[in-house]
C-alpha cells in the first residue's frame, strides 16, 4: 500500500519479486544491494536457512528520485519460492504495489514457472487483487545457461494474459538487465500512481524503453 506522508514528504511503494524456487529472486536483490549507491539504500535483510534458501523474505529499502519535493521510497521484497511456503508468500504479498515475476529460463523449470505464476494469481485473488490492477514485469532469468527456452516460448507460457507486459532477458548472477527490470517496474508504478494522483489529466505514456522489452507479435504466439 503506497502511503503519502506530507510531513516527511515521502511516498512509499512496495515491490515484490515472485517466482519459483531457486529462480534467482534473492540474487536480484543481492546484486542491486551490491551495485547501487550506498547512500540510496538501506541494509539487505535476508531471513534465510543455513543453506541460504529464503525462509521468510529478503528485504531491501531503496530511496529514489524526488517528485515535486517528495522522495519516493521503494521497498523490495522477495518471497520464498519453495511450494510449501505458500502461507509466507501470502503474507509478503500483503499491500503490494508492484511485482517482478522471475522465471527460470531452463526447459526443465517450465512447469515450476507456470505453477508459480498460477500460484501468484491465486494468492492475489485471495487478497482481492489481480495482476490486471498491479503493475508488473516479467524477468526471464539464467539466460547464460545452455538449456534454455527461447523468449518466444517463455512469452507464450507466461506473458499470455490479455494485457502483455514488458519482459527482460536477465542473468542475475552477473547483473545483466537486473537494473533494467527494476527500473521498468518502478517507472510503470510511478506512471500508474501519477494517473491515480491526477485522474483529470491525460493518461501518461508508457515508460518502456525501446529495445528493453520483448513483446512477441501476435502472429508468433502460436509456438506450442
Amino acid at each position: 500500500m503506497s502511503i503519502i506522508n506530507y510531513a516527511s514528504r515521502e511516498i512509499q511503494f512496495k515491490i515484490v519479486y515472485y517466482g519459483p524456487a531457486l529462480c534467482g529472486k534473492t540474487t536480484n536483490l543481492g546484486y542491486i544491494h551490491q551495485r547501487i549507491n550506498p547512500q540510496n539504500r538501506g541494509d539487505l535483510v535476508s531471513l534465510a536457512t543455513a543453506a541460504d534458501r529464503t525462509l521468510f523474505f529478503d528485504f531491501l529499502p531503496l530511496n529514489a528520485l524526488v517528485i515535486k519535493g517528495f522522495v519516493t521510497k521503494f521497498q523490495l521484497y522477495t518471497v520464498p519460492g519453495q511450494v510449501i511456503y505458500n502461507a509466507t508468500r501470502q503474507l509478503v504479498l500483503r499491500s503490494v504495489d508492484g511485482m517482478v515475476f522471475v522465471a527460470d529460463s531452463q526447459w526443465e523449470k517450465m512447469e515450476e514457472n507456470v505453477e508459480s505464476f498460477k500460484n501468484l494469481e491465486d494468492n492475489l485473488a485471495k487478497q482481492n487483487m489481480s495482476l490486471d490492477d498491479i503493475p508488473y514485469v516479467l524477468q526471464y532469468n539464467k539466460r547464460d545457461l545452455p538449456n534454455i527456452a527461447p523468449v518466444n516460448y517463455l512469452d507464450y507460457v507466461l506473458n499470455n494474459r490479455k494485457k502483455r507486459v514488458q519482459s527482460f532477458e536477465v542473468v542475475s548472477s552477473t547483473g545483466q538487465n537486473v537494473f533494467a527490470t527494476l527500473n521498468a517496474v518502478s517507472q510503470i508504478l510511478l506512471h500508474k500512481f501519477s494517473k491515480q494522483s491526477d485522474a483529470g489529466r491525460p493518461a501518461a505514456p508508457g515508460a518502456a524503453k525501446p529495445g528493453q522489452q520483448h513483446v512477441v507479435p501476435e502472429q508468433q504466439r502460436s509456438v506450442a
Partner: protein
C-alpha cells in the same frame, strides 16, 4: 493502490502528539506505527540507533507469522507480542485490522507499563487513522514529472 492514504502535516502532528504522550508515560525509547505490509506510517522517539524501515518490515513479518500459531489455539491472531532481550525489548500490539504499533524500550521501564499505556494509545491511533483522507489527496504529478532516465543506476562499488 486504489485508495492511497494521505498523512497531512496536521495528521502527523496529531499522531506525533499521541505517540509522544505514550512514550513519556511508558518511558519507552521509540514507537513506530506501521501497516501490516511493513510500511512505516508514523514514528516517534530515538531513531538514531536503528533503521526504522527494516524494523517495520521485520515486525510486520513477525506479527503475521504468529497468526497461524494463534489459530492453532483457537484465536484469530495474537493481539500483542513481546520480544524480550537482555537490555532492549520490543512490544508489538494490534491497532486495527491494517495497522500495528511497535514499541522499543529498555531497562528504564517494564513491559507491564508499556502494555498498559499502549492499549489506550492504540485506540487513539486507530481512531485517527480511520479519519485519514483517502484518494483525492491533492498531491498530483504527471508523466512529465517522472524522469525519463533510469530511476536506479548500476554503479560499481566505491574503491576500497
Amino acid at each position: 493502490m486504489n485508495a492511497i492514504p494521505v498523512l497531512t502535516i496536521d495528521d502527523v502532528a496529531t499522531l506525533d502528539g499521541v505517540l509522544a504522550d505514550f512514550l513519556k508515560k511508558a518511558e519507552a525509547e521509540l514507537t513506530v506505527v506501521i501497516d501490516r505490509g511493513g510500511n512505516v506510517i508514523s514514528q516517534y522517539g530515538d531513531m538514531t540507533v536503528m533503521d526504522v524501515t527494516i524494523i517495520a518490515a521485520l515486525a510486520a513479518g513477525s506479527f503475521a507469522a504468529t497468526r497461524e500459531l494463534a489459530r492453532r489455539i483457537g484465536e484469530v491472531e495474537f493481539n500483542a507480542l513481546y520480544h524480550q532481550g537482555n537490555g532492549s525489548h520490543i512490544f508489538m500490539n494490534s491497532v486495527d485490522e491494517e495497522t500495528i504499533m511497535i514499541t522499543v524500550f529498555g531497562p528504564r521501564t517494564t513491559v507491564g507499563l508499556v502494555r498498559f499505556y499502549s492499549t489506550g494509545t492504540a485506540q487513539q491511533v486507530a481512531l485517527l487513522l480511520k479519519s485519514l483522507q483517502k484518494g483525492n489527496h491533492g498531491f498530483s504529478f504527471d508523466a512529465s514529472d517522472i524522469t525519463a532516465a533510469p530511476i536506479f543506476a548500476d554503479s560499481a562499488p566505491p574503491a576500497a
